[in-house]
Assembly symmetry: C2
Homo-oligomer: 454 residues x 2
């Protein structure tokens, strides 16, 4: 990508004509990529030279701080005009990220119609269908002819987010059916809408979780999903482009939870943004909580070893195998909880069939543990010339790895049952239990099999 260099050069030489020409020739995608690498001042200049539609498209893809920087450069009048033109769902996202005073001022300066839409969206709980839906859809009546419906689509196309899925409502806005523009185009001009619509429309409520909405769109290969209120009235639609972003967001949340990165964000900025660009203090707040839990678990594991201090004093070589016991248990636990979590997300594991999967997983843990136990036990016995030590190491691995597999499935399952977000809690709990239990098991076996050396 050379664009950011070319742009910077033209700005430095104040050659706005050439800059405008370059921007006119470039693809939106190239400008967007270059844009991130410009200084805030350069961004403002480039932004002002872009055609309005391109400016809107680029604005919607920027990070929060880049958006705020650009907005600050506008006159009040320009800001109002600009915010008025954003799609309602993008506007809500932007307003949520602004200081409350500024947001309120902006909302009040919107056109009455746009203000109403924005306020409605802001009234729904975060991460629900109500919050992410757009109110820009086309609705038809069941007794319209195909010809009249097509006319309406043509007339309204410009201001609607999608025209490819059309919704049929009655006079009280109750959703009666859905049809695609494809159905409409292929139908006879004189036919009635009710003859070609699908009555059993798949729909979400305003309070449906956004992830569930996104999964529905994905599983059913839909372009848009209608959202209805408690009275079954159509109030908006969620489109596939938003669903893709939501799925990415949800996966990222799970991955961060799993890596012990606490969710302290107030949804203003994503955790990834905080972790990469946040202040040291903000990063600490995300990374420390899980580390402190591990710190406590580490000391508890140390106390287990203390309980066997005399074993250690008599046979220091017993300590050589502490890393092995901890690492092998840890990896099997991580594997098992990942298999469980992804299995549930991808539908390969159904929670109601939990125990079938659970016993299989214990079998897997036991069989792998036995194989690894035999290998490690043999190596340990030869290394230290003590067959009984090999036996202790091997058996400890079998039990610890079976236990870790069991915990990897059981802990997230129990957390789901208690309605705790499963991904957030399982990693620290599994780590703590398997460390403490693993060392306890190992030292008990050592005490049994090497008792004669004490």
């Amino acid at each position: 990508m050379l664009y950011e260099k070319i742009i910077s050069a033209f700005i430095e030489s104040k050659d706005m004509e050439s800059l405008k020409a370059v921007l006119g020739d470039a693809e939106l995608m190239e400008i967007l990529h270059a844009f991130h690498d410009l200084t805030p001042e350069e961004q403002v200049i480039v932004f002002r030279l872009l055609p309005k539609d391109d400016a809107l498209s680029i604005f919607e893809e920027l990070d929060t701080d880049e958006q705020q920087n650009l907005l600050r450069s506008f006159t009040d009048e320009k800001t109002i005009e600009f915010v008025n033109e954003l799609a309602p769902d993008d506007r809500v996202k932007l307003l949520e990220e602004m200081p409350a005073v500024v947001a309120k001022k902006l909302i009040n300066s919107l056109s009455p119609e746009e203000r109403k839409v924005t306020n409605v969206l802001l009234g729904y709980a975060p991460e629900t269908a109500g919050r992410i839906m757009t109110t820009e859809y086309i609705s038809l009546k069941r007794d319209m002819t195909v010809e009249r419906a097509l006319e309406k689509v043509r007339r309204q196309a410009k201001e609607k987010e999608t025209i490819y899925t059309l919704y049929v409502t009655d006079n009280s806005k109750k959703l009666e059916g859905v049809l695609s523009l494809k159905d409409l185009l292929m139908a006879d001009g004189g036919a009635k809408i009710e003859a070609i619509m699908t009555e059993k429309a798949i729909k979400a409520s305003t309070d449906t979780d956004q992830e569930e909405v996104a999964r529905l769109l994905q599983e059913l290969d839909l372009l848009a999903l209608p959202v209805v209120d408690k009275e079954d009235r159509l109030v908006g639609i969620v489109t596939i482009d938003d669903a893709v972003d939501i799925l990415e967001e949800e996966v990222t949340e799970d991955i961060f939870d799993q890596a012990g990165l606490a969710d302290i964000t107030k949804k203003e900025t994503s955790r990834s943004e905080v972790l990469v660009s946040g202040s040291l203090w903000a990063i600490w707040k995300v990374r420390l909580p899980f580390l402190l839990i591990t710190l406590i678990a580490g000391f508890l594991a140390g106390m287990v070893i203390e309980g066997f201090e005399e074993v250690l004093e008599a046979t220091a070589f017993v300590a050589f195998f502490i890393p092995l016991i901890m690492d092998m248990g840890g990896n099997v636990g991580t594997q098992s909880s990942t298999v469980f979590a992804r299995g549930v997300v991808l539908g390969h594991i159904q929670v109601k069939h939990f125990f079938k999967h659970f016993f299989k997983e214990i079998g897997v843990g036991f069989s792998i543990g036995t194989l690894v136990g035999i290998m490690a036990g043999t190596i340990a016995a030869i290394w230290q010339g003590l067959p009984m030590l090999g036996l202790a190491v091997g058996l400890a691995l079998v039990v610890t790895m079976t236990l870790a597999a069991l915990l990897g499935f059981l802990v997230p399952f129990v957390l789901i049952k208690f309605n705790v977000d499963q991904a957030a809690g399982s990693a620290p709990i599994i780590t703590s239990i398997k460390d403490i239990a693993g060392l306890l098991i190992y030292f008990v076996f050592v005490s049994i099999f090497l008792g004669n050396l004490l």
Copy 2:
């Protein structure tokens, strides 16, 4: 969901009329959910009673083994008819999963036209745009009028996967432009296509990586992306519904790699399917490789401890802090590599600005390490009544945690530079280095500060 019970009951009582009525009333989604819970025999019966379109929709959402089971129940003739009607990209997926002999037989029995399409798709490398594209798009000519183009869309709508994005090609099939059905509907009937099309079409090549294609569709909020060959001729399109599935697949691959689950699948079945429903032997092949690497690392860590055997014999309490050193380093390393991996995927970290992020991460590791080191060192000093032990534990944590943060960023970066799939290799490498280095650092500090006790 009661559907699977109702279905099972009607099948048992052989009441096919009622079963048919229930299936007719149910939503596709409900049937699909119930379907997974039926026995293979029940699935076959239900499948035969479904209207053909519903059957096709459901078939495309099933797992491989469910698909194979259904196909086996068909007569040869029915199989051929059915496979003929699947969308080309779904058909290719199915054929890849079949035994080669059966696949070949099926391909030869396809209609000449469908056979050609299938063979073309099968010729591209797996995980490229060529392999996932569909050849069912509508192409227009630049000198067509809007009216004639709309007629063509109407005529071809039924057999095309999408009609909402239209492609303009010249006589040698070179891609000249793109337009949306929305543009077409809003334009004047007499206008020429060249007047309303966008010439700068964003496109992929047949050998573009499928993840890149999916990211383009996501970032630009497109419904479809054209795919061209080396001569810039249009050969297919990738639609958004496939992009969503690809993004999910790629994320799953990364998560599995990160959890130490090796990719041994021959793309016949997903890793998650193997791990949940595979044979014990298949599961072993996925889970063992990383465990064996850890086993070796565990023994190497043990050898480090052996190197300080006399320290341990003199001061057994030194072993109490081994779990702490290992766990804290491990967690910081996991956090850092996750921040790096997600940061790159989400665009918050750009690889070309690596060193800026790298030094920030080292700062984060050092500051967190210092905080945790002071806490843990103080506790250790009080617990064992030995200030010098506290100093050794604290300093070891500072160095180990800084090192772990450094490795968490550096290892995946180096693997990217050497073109190794970064997610697959980093976890075992980071774990091994930080364990071995962490224990070495700890024991060196112990030797320095507690030398008088030896």
